[in-house]
C-alpha cells in the first residue's frame, strides 16, 4: 500500500475519526457506515473489497473489534494512517468516559441521565443493523459470491441466535468455506 496521502488528508482522516469517536454510541462498529462513506465513497482511498477485508482481518485476529480501525488506517496510509485513526477513535471517548463515569456515578437515577440512555438505545440497535448490512452488501452485490455469502450469513445468524457456540468456530467455518472456494 502506498502512502499517497498528503499531510492535510492525514489530518482530515484523524479529525474525522475524532468526531466519530464521540458519535460511536454503541461501539466503534456502529460508525462503520460513516467510515465507509468517508474513506471509500467520498475519498476513494481504498476499494470496497479492501474495506470489507480490513474488517474481516480484525475479526479474524484476537482482541477488541475496535482494532479494525487500525487496520483501516494502515490500509489507507500505512503505519501513520493506523496511528491517525486509532488515536482519533480513542482519545475523545477515553477522556469523556473517564470524566462521565465519575460524574454519572452519583446521578445514575436522574431523569436527564435516564432520558439519555433510554433515547439512544434504539438508535444503537438501528446502527448495529446498518453496520451488518454495510458489511454484507459487497458480497451480496457480487453475483459470483452472492449465494455462498448469503448462506454463510444466514448460518451465522441462525447459530448465534439458537446455540451458545463460540463465534470463534463460525469465523473458522467461514475461513474454511472461503478456502475451499464455496463462498
Amino acid at each position: 500500500m502506498t502512502t499517497g496521502l498528503s499531510p492535510a488528508d492525514l489530518f482530515g482522516l484523524f479529525t474525522h475519526f475524532l468526531v466519530l469517536s464521540l458519535l460511536a454510541v454503541g461501539g466503534a462498529i456502529t460508525t462503520v457506515p460513516d467510515m465507509h462513506r468517508y474513506i471509500v465513497a467520498e475519498h476513494h482511498w481504498i476499494s470496497d473489497a479492501q474495506f470489507s477485508s480490513s474488517i474481516a482481518i480484525a475479526q479474524a485476529a484476537p482482541g477488541p473489534n475496535v482494532l479494525f480501525v487500525a487496520v483501516l488506517g494502515w490500509n489507507v496510509a500505512g503505519p501513520i494512517g493506523a496511528f491517525a485513526t486509532m488515536a482519533g477513535i480513542l482519545l475523545p471517548s477515553t477522556v469523556l468516559s473517564l470524566w462521565a463515569t465519575r460524574w454519572g456515578a452519583q446521578r445514575r437515577e436522574t431523569r436527564g441521565v435516564r432520558a439519555f440512555t433510554t433515547g439512544l438505545t434504539p438508535l444503537t440497535l438501528g446502527l448495529l443493523l446498518a453496520t451488518g448490512w454495510v458489511l454484507a452488501e459487497p458480497y451480496l452485490l457480487d453475483a459470483s459470491h452472492r449465494w455462498g455469502a448469503l448462506g454463510l450469513i444466514a448460518t451465522t445468524v441462525f447459530v448465534m441466535l439458537r446455540t451458545k457456540l463460540s463465534p470463534m468456530w463460525l469465523v473458522a467455518l467461514g475461513a474454511v468455506a472461503g478456502l475451499l472456494g464455496w463462498v
Binding site: A28, P64, N65, G104
Partner: protein
C-alpha cells in the same frame, strides 16, 4: 441494587501490573469480540466483579461514546487504581492484539493475490457480517423494557437503519436529529 442472597466475597486486583496482564489475557482470547470472554474472566474466573456490577458497567459503557469494551476496561481500571489503572487496563487490552492484527494486515498484503487467501477472508467477512446482524437481533428484544414503549423504540431503530444503511446520511446528522428527538420522547415518557 437488590442483593437478595448474601453475596460471596469478591476478589480485588492486587496491582496495576496484575490489571494489565488480566486484560491482556482476556483480549488475546477474544476472537470475534471480547465481551463474552470479559464476562467469563472478570466475573467467573477472577471474581473481581459480580454479575450485577458487570451488567451495570456494560450498560454505561454502551451508552458512552467509544468502543464498548474499551470503555469497560477504562471504567474498571479507574475504579481500583484511578487513571493509572485505567491506562493499564487499556494498554493491556490493546497493545498485544494491535501488534498481531497489524502483522496479519502486512502479511495479507503479500498474499492477497492468492485465491485461497482472499477466499478465506471473504468467508470470514461474511461471518463477521452475520455476527453483527445476530448481535443486533438479539438485543432488539431488550427494547421491550424501554420506557418509550416497543413500537416507538422499534420505529427509532428502523429510521436509524434507513438513514444510515439506505440513505447513507452522515452519522452526525442522524445522532443529532433522531437522537435528540428520541431523548425528548424519553424525557417526556419518564415523567410518570
Amino acid at each position: 441494587m437488590s442483593g437478595a442472597a448474601p453475596k460471596e466475597a469478591l476478589n480485588v486486583p492486587g496491582s496495576v501490573r496484575e490489571l494489565f496482564f488480566a486484560f491482556n489475557r482476556l483480549a488475546l482470547q477474544g476472537f470475534g469480540g471480547v465481551l463474552p470472554v470479559a464476562q467469563r474472566e472478570l466475573v467467573e474466573r477472577l471474581r473481581w466483579l459480580d454479575k450485577e456490577q458487570f451488567v451495570e458497567m456494560l450498560a454505561i459503557s454502551q451508552v458512552l461514546p467509544g468502543p464498548n469494551i474499551v470503555n469497560l476496561a477504562l471504567m474498571f481500571g479507574d475504579r481500583f487504581f484511578g487513571i493509572r489503572g485505567a491506562m493499564a487496563a487499556l494498554a493491556g487490552m490493546l497493545l498485544a492484539p494491535l501488534v498481531i492484527v497489524l502483522a496479519l494486515t502486512a502479511l495479507y498484503a503479500q498474499f492477497a493475490q492468492l485465491p485461497m487467501v482472499s477466499g478465506a477472508l471473504r468467508g470470514m467477512g461474511a461471518v463477521a457480517a452475520g455476527l453483527v446482524i445476530s448481535t443486533a437481533l438479539k438485543l432488539l428484544g431488550s427494547l421491550r423494557r424501554n420506557a418509550m414503549g416497543l413500537p416507538i423504540s422499534l420505529a427509532f431503530a428502523a429510521f436509524t437503519f434507513a438513514a444510515t444503511a439506505w440513505l447513507r446520511l452522515p452519522l452526525v446528522w442522524v445522532i443529532v436529529g433522531l437522537g435528540s428527538a428520541a431523548m425528548a420522547v424519553a424525557w417526556a415518557r419518564l415523567r410518570e
